[in-house]
Symmetry: C2
Subunit: 188 residues, 2 copies
DNA sequence: GTCTATACAAAGATAGAC
DNA sequence: GTCTATCTTTGTATAGAC
């Protein structure tokens, strides 16, 4: 992908994470990176094409991390849990973004089908990763947990997604740490 | 509020809950209830006015329920928790909606300031209600809990908001029950 | 690859008749 | 209160010069 295409994807991701997909226009992107609207269409013919590219890059970036930790024999169960939490914790501070796919999930049926499919992948992949982690922990007894591996995965995933929304809507930075701390204690 | 105004608010709520605020137009509403765009402007001069009215009605409807249960001397702590969970559980089935304010939180900075303020109120009121519930339970020992009353409130609230998004994005109805079941077990 | 120019549809909103 | 008609701006997208 060209340098310009990368800049377009990056700024689009940021704009979606702050305002949502429907509210972002090619004009917004053009203004942000100092080119013309028509140039964006050269790289991404339709807005849906761009949206898909944004989600795919986001998914890949996060999943690469998770898979690397999962495959690391030196990483403890706790290390792996922290690897899951880390991206959410990174939204602390005055960051106005939420999870890309969390934002998109809120306007799900306004999205083109191709984007919907990518959002679905994100949810399934992250919940699946957590389920695998907790299933392994259940086997070797390295973590207690409040329900089945899948139930626990869903609780953890949903709680962090919700915490991001709450942090921003209630303008309270401590939301993320509060939920992360409580989740850690549940399996400690 | 007139009958037409009520119908406008109701359909707008449903459209926001399925597609988000930015993706809904006056034309969509007009088509849905069989009137003309201009008629909507008579009742709600601007889209932001309508958005605010929608959130206010949503907030009032849910908070009235919660406050009634909180004030009911015959309601146990468990009854009160169920009253909190009930609106989330109602999204099970083939309902394509999520929580109105959960959807709006995802596109927070695309909203007019007046709407942002109403969304903030929702988050603070519901987390506050839960915090009060758990604080009372801590005093009388009627529930165990995994953290402080406020931390527990944030966990419960975020987890249910996240569960709604996950249910729809992953197209898996069991998400909501799984999370609700796990939460109940945490304080049982 | 980026630009100017433009097409075309849809958006939010207002004026004024009924 | 609802309508038709219209305004103005913005949206996505394409054509074609450079």
């Amino acid at each position: 992908m060209s340098d310009t295409a990368n800049r377009i994807v990056d700024i689009m991701a940021e704009l979606i994470q702050t305002r949502g997909y429907s509210a972002v226009s090619y004009q917004d992107i053009a203004d942000a990176i100092g080119i013309r609207k028509a140039s964006i269409h050269y790289h991404f013919p339709s807005k849906g094409d761009l949206g898909e590219a944004v989600i795919r890059q986001y998914n890949k970036s996060l999943l690469d991390e998770l898979e690397a930790v999962a495959a690391d024999p030196g990483a403890s169960a706790s290390d792996k849990l922290e690897a899951f939490l880390e991206p959410y914790l990174s939204f602390r501070g005055d960051d106005q973004r939420v999870c890309l796919c969390g934002a998109l999930a809120g306007e799900f049926f306004a999205l083109p089908k191709g984007m919907q499919a990518e959002v679905t992948k994100f949810f399934e992949a992250h919940q699946g990763w957590l389920t695998n982690l907790f299933a392994a922990c259940k086997k070797d007894g390295s973590m207690k947990m409040p329900g089945s591996p899948e139930q626990t995965a869903r609780l953890f995933f949903g709680a962090m997604q919700g915490a991001l929304l709450a942090k921003r809507a209630a303008n309270d930075d401590t939301q993320i740490d509060d939920v992360a701390t409580t989740l850690r204690a549940l399996v400690a």
